[in-house]
Symmetry: C2
Subunit: 273 residues, 2 copies
């Protein structure tokens, strides 16, 4: 496989840097080709602004989605953005690696998403009708590719557990896994999370590295999170609400959008199927 | 009251710009003092990097939290960051205004959080013991102040409803409301959300503006979201898990961290109280 790893830590001599090297080494040992986008090293520009749309007249009002769509259609996005889009099209798998800062990705990685995910490329594509609501959530330019996040956090695992004060890690990552990765079509693998990242001694690092190598060996074969496909019949169109007969009556929030029947997860098993 | 409005849209002639002006006008009409941090206009730097920590030796490994704490303690953060911290300390209320991009804030606003929320200022403060786990989640430097988000999204309200495919808006905003605002001590007001932002005609804008003016008139008096205080007895220490007897047995995920007893919300009413 061809793997794109987007790396968003400001220090290469960090735990994140060490884990990146472990991942690359194992992926290459398995025969995969790896391309790294090191956002800090490349001085990635984080802000969507007028400079992103060279065709926009100087006095024209900037409407980000419209400007993005026009620039994408005219092949007039900036070179840094086009290069990342090419890498995404090249890759069979995407890994987003970052430290969890304030319960989501660092600004520089959000800026990669905001700028690379152009209108017409990652959203705003496909037919809208009574049967389909665009190519998104399981369909789109990234369909057939796999993606996962590799994240470190200073906090304790218990604090991110089902009843932990930070909220469950899978729910904190839902806007990324479902909203950024599944949206343009990726099959999303379970996240790889390292807790208490500032307190790993050599022995603990060795265990984390082995766990990461194992995940890298299974990158091509691991079972994705069974998110429901938007146009697969589970949602009403155009309200895009899960059909009333689906989902456990007690299930709320993000868990509804996983198809429990696919995994036997009782928390979100649909009824009447 | 003194109100800080942090504005994160690249175009002043936008719906966001118009709503910002409506908010400011109403707040000033009510006698409040308003300070605006226009992140794009001030060319805010989004990335946490070495340049943020002038005291760090050129060859020293950058550990972001440690460097942030050392710089804050030495009053050696950069001037742009110090100015924003001063504004936060000045303000009685904070409004974060942004378009929802990929289900969270734009990179430039995340960069404001990442950089302004220094260690020792917004986190890493307070006693850790058997009774307390730092000053966070309801306590901290922002205690006694109010905060809310003002957000626009291109999507439909139904798509962000309880069973909508995007996930419920309150849950998508939880990492911001709970993780970024409640964490350093703000009382968090319900969000102000505008849907289908690209399709507002004049009449619809008038209704939105009136709704916003009403919210601004109630900024000082509206009831905050009843998040549970970390050190108020609801959580086990140090695992920071909600005590087993609290929260509705069927409630999961983020809803557990609201105290339903405070509002009569049956979905999260604690048992045995």
């Amino acid at each position: 496989m061809k793997v794109l790893l987007v790396f968003a830590h400001p220090e290469s001599r960090s735990l994140n840097g060490a884990l990146r090297d472990v991942a690359i080494q194992e992926l290459e040992a398995q025969g995969h080709a790896v391309c790294v986008s090191d956002l800090y090293a490349s001085r990635w520009k984080s802000e969507v602004d007028r400079a992103d749309f060279p065709l926009l007249a100087p006095d024209a009002r900037l409407k980000p989605a419209a400007a993005s769509g026009a620039a994408f259609a005219a092949n007039a996005l900036t070179e840094d953005v086009k290069a990342e889009q090419e890498k995404l099209l090249w890759a069979d798998a995407l890994i987003l690696q970052f430290p969890l800062w304030w319960f989501t990705m660092p600004a520089i990685l959000k800026g990669w998403v905001d700028r690379v995910y152009a209108y017409g490329f990652a959203y705003g594509v496909g037919e809208h009708s009574e049967k389909r609501w665009g190519d998104r959530y399981g369909e789109g330019a990234m369909a057939g590719k796999r993606a996962m996040v590799l994240v470190t956090t200073g906090g304790w695992e218990e604090h991110y557990s089902a009843r932990g004060i930070n909220g469950p890690i899978d729910d904190l990552l839902f806007p990324i896994n479902h909203g950024i990765l599944f949206y343009p079509g990726f099959d999303v693998l379970p996240p790889f999370v390292v807790y208490r990242a500032d307190h790993l001694n050599d022995a603990a690092f060795g265990l984390v590295a082995e766990r990461l190598r194992d995940r890298m060996r299974k990158l091509a074969t691991a079972t994705p999170i069974p998110y429901r496909r938007q146009n697969g019949g589970d949602y009403l169109i155009p309200s895009m609400q899960l059909r009333p007969e689906l989902g456990d009556p007690g299930a709320t929030s993000f868990a509804l959008h996983r198809n429990g029947a696919a995994t036997g997860d009782p928390a979100s098993r649909p009824k009447g199927r």
